[in-house]
Amino acid sequence: MEIREATPGDAFINKKYLDKSCSFSYNIGSPVFRYHTVQGVFSMLSSIISRIIIWFLSFALLLLLLLVPMDTVFVEGRGGSFMGATYDYQVARHVENIKTFFTYIRETGGLGTDEAGDPIMAKILTVFLRSLLIFLPAIVIGFFLGITKGIFDFKNRKSKRKLLGQPVTIGLLSIPDIVIIVSIQLAVIFLYRHGLVDISLYGHDRLENVLMNILYLSIYPVMFISNITYKTLEAEQGLDYVRTARSKGTGELKVLYIHMLKNGMPKILSHSNTMVLYTLSNLFIVEVFTEYRGAAFYMYHTLGSATEFYVGALFTPDTIAQIGYVFLFTLVILFFNIVSGVARAKVTLREGSR
């Protein structure tokens, strides 16, 4: 089975850019080569700039959504019970909200303080770093272990060990992560009842919470990267340069690592954006489910008005904090967007000078 993953933004930005910078020349020092290098740097820069512009647009759009006026008229029944609510959207109120927000930002010079007088910025940052503490290791593990597993799958695609390879990768990629998480938790509970392990499954303040959450979060990236690596190696397999290398007597391992993997790297990296997006989605589920008090957890609970509210007031008018979280999350995505773009350009350029 193949999980088809189109990379939405990437396809838009990189199609043009890849077409240009892929055309490299093998003659170092030739004018053609120099021209292409310069072009490569330029297209790299313009790709970074266009990514930043798109990031800005998406953030603006999210900001617009978060600042939708909350003027809900609650209809109260006897004893303040909830009978219903009517909502009436007015553009003028929306504009007013946006103006107020920017004035607020300018006046407080940060994000201001919450009801208790603590600075919101500091809280957001602490919580956000807590999220990064599980998110970044998951991505790094995903990348390294994923490529390793991809190579394993590829090397064993024809041997008896094949059953442990690609089918397992695809299988784990197809079933919802929560199935794996629940299985792990049930196993832990089973072992606990037999007095073998003592791991707390919920919370955020212990090392084991962090480690378990990294484990949960890294399942998808590992399988995703592994699948992409396998596909890439498979595609490189029949190409002329591989046959040439083999016919010249280059060892199988050397061909695999030095030639095929290096050439396949841009392809693998180009999917990192999709992987990061998906893992961030997963971060919500893992944090909310395990009560790991990171940024996604708080964002879910401040946005929680979708599932919880009090009559008379929406559950959390804490829009400022939400905007802070959204800003930081989209910034992370932008970072990975640029990293993957730059890495891709670098690999392509090195190709050119080889």
Binding site: E2, S58, Y89, S174, I178, S281, F284, L303, A306
Partner: protein, 297 residues
Amino acid sequence: MNRILLTGIVMTGIVLLAVLFGPSLPLVDKSMDQNLVVRDSDGALLVPPIPPSDEFLIGTDRKGVDLWSRLMVGARETFYILGVILAVRLFAALLLSIGAFYSKGLRLLMDGWNAVFSFMPTIFIILILLAVPGVMFSDYRSFWVLIILAAVEVGRLALIFYENMEYQRRQTYMEAAVANGGGRWTLFRNYYWPSLVRELVITAPMEAGRTMFLLVQLGVIGIYVNQQFFSQLDRSYRAVEMSDAWPVLLGNLRQDIYSAPWIPIAALIAMTFSILGFYILAEGLKKRQAMKRRIQS
């Protein structure tokens, strides 16, 4: 012999069976009575959730409703939700991609849509959109939730269809079709549309799997399609899912893992089974198309 396709057909067939004949299947209690207190064979009293036993094949939920009945009866509603999301999504994506293929303006819209959405994780944007009060308190909330769940993936899907048409355009035989004087409509009817249909046949089960995947994720964090607000002890109101759909069984996952693991296990098995069924079906259909092409050439 295409074994993958066969497996896919059998698996989706089983799911379809539950959807069509769920309430009349054996061991299904259509009325879904709540068994509040049950006496076991030794005469001891049991309160729900009751673990799997002779009387309740896979146990009961927290209200004492037989879980097997609930799964079978709930299948129809689950796949009704899934079907609506899928239909809206595919239809909108087809329109957008065909539009983008012929009009530069729509092309820009599609690319822009995808670029902007590439900065928003799916769950993230769903949460933000659902929290908009206009959606949250709408009398047609279920409708809006379905639309939002469908819309978040339209851009990505449109891109797949668009690339299919672009690929078709690059084929050499298309030049012949153009040279023979094929007009825009003729080309679309005879070349692009059939190619899109071939893509659709694979994409539809694939998307069905993905949608179910999304419903699982949303179920875990407590977001359902049909919900009503109910008063809590602290005078706050909490959304409570009123339906028998499968994702609802995941609502209490954290406690259930400790005290009644059979509830989430049953729900997860049912949903994972259908996800795998859809993916395998898509893969089998893809293989079938590839084999057909090989025979033709």
